[in-house]
Symmetry: C2
Subunit: 219 residues, 2 copies
DNA sequence: GCAAAAGTGTTATCGATACACCCATGC
DNA sequence: GCATGGGTGTATCGATAACACTTTTGC
């Protein structure tokens, strides 16, 4: 192992985003132990010495949501001495995007887990509120120059649904025609030829994401 | 302190950029001890338990260059088990930008330190080459949507010097008239009214950065 | 007077924005 | 037939990109 007094606790915390009811929501876990017992916190935990950071974040996401293979990106590392009252713990924060359909019957009925709207978060443990805010800003910024929003979409989706995702994250309405113009000639989106009927109005075209679900820089 | 086996070494490494001879250069340190003894590496080291990550990076920058108060930004954290043969060490990488005039008579004559062009790096210790490449990409990306390049400029500078900084980092020539149009109406740049005479040609106007040396998002 | 870098405007093109009405369906 | 959300096109504006010659100085 390594010399001198630079031994510290190493953790990852994951800001897991989804969208439900026109709300951008974050997965929170109620803490059972001290410190901050009873407070809501991000899912996370200590990183075992033989596990890569990405793998650890991915595993924690899987343990809490049952979901694997979704978009996951390192956000920032937080290491203020004093951010954890037990001693020096560096948290490598990640954020993840999960399409709501992949959360079907999971994480409900468990009162230790909650999907809370980013606009109405309770008091969070540690510096987790700050982490959530940073993640939200990063996500919103990426909407402008990448196709990252597709990570929230399921197998098939309508353009109105996609627009709603943008509006929810950005917190502002977008022009329908301009939005569709922009998005229809993206190479990563494809018309399935199928139609979605819902309610008493005209059916909507269904689209799908082509091939890779890679996040690409556009523009 | 913190429970269980998640104890690891915590380090910071800093990619210190400067520009000299139309080259983007990185500060490297020759390693004396194992592992990678004799190899070139980024300046860095273990983070004491009571020091913030930013402070540690800033201190390491200061120790090697004598420079303080320059632009410094967290880049990414690297934690592959196996990236350090001694055991698990997580490195929180930073990058810093130093105007060449602030390096006047420092870091020369010391054959354990070198400012190497990013285009001709020797073999580096650990995953440091990867870190340098990531930092370079981040820096180049930020040229497009921020005024970060001003961090390389001294007290007063000509527009040709500034353009040269852009061209050096991007690795491609820019149109002089378009460049000046863009940059002349930035609020953060100001004509000093002074002139710079060098060689047998027309003198150049000298500019300065106004007020804050904050990096701002532009466009 | 010549070499060397500083300085300067116009035009064309592209992308972004603003904006309002008809369409298909369920009830 | 009416309420609901789905779907479409054009005109304007501003930003970007391409492009070449004159000016000032030192020698």
């Amino acid at each position: 192992m390594v010399a001198d007094g630079a031994m510290t606790g190493l953790a990852t915390d994951v800001v897991v985003f989804t969208i439900r009811d026109q709300c951008l929501r974050v997965l929170l876990v109620r803490r059972s132990g001290e410190p901050f017992a009873g407070h809501w916190a991000l899912p996370g935990g200590m990183v075992p010495a033989d596990e890569a950071l990405d793998d650890c974040a991915s595993r924690m996401l899987g343990e809490k949501t049952g979901v694997r293979g979704v978009y996951l990106e390192q956000l920032y590392s937080f290491g203020e001495p004093g951010r954890d009252p037990r001693g020096r713990v560096v948290s490598v924060a990640y954020y993840a995007l999960v399409p709501p359909e992949r959360l079907a019957r999971f994480a409900d009925g468990d009162d230790q887990l909650a999907w809370m709207p980013t606009e109405a978060l309770p008091e969070l443990a540690f510096d987790h509120r700050h982490i959530v805010e940073l993640a939200h800003r990063r996500l919103a910024a990426k909407l402008d120059y990448s196709n990252i929003a597709l990570q929230f979409m399921g197998e098939r989706f309508t353009l109105s649904e996609l627009q709603s995702v943008y509006e929810t994250i950005l917190g502002e309405p977008l022009d329908k025609r301009n939005f569709r113009k922009r998005v229809r000639n993206l190479p990563c989106i494809e018309d399935t030829g199928e139609w979605f009927r819902a309610g008493k109005h005209r059916p909507a075209r269904l689209f799908r994401v082509t091939r890779s679900d890679r996040v690409e820089i556009i523009k």
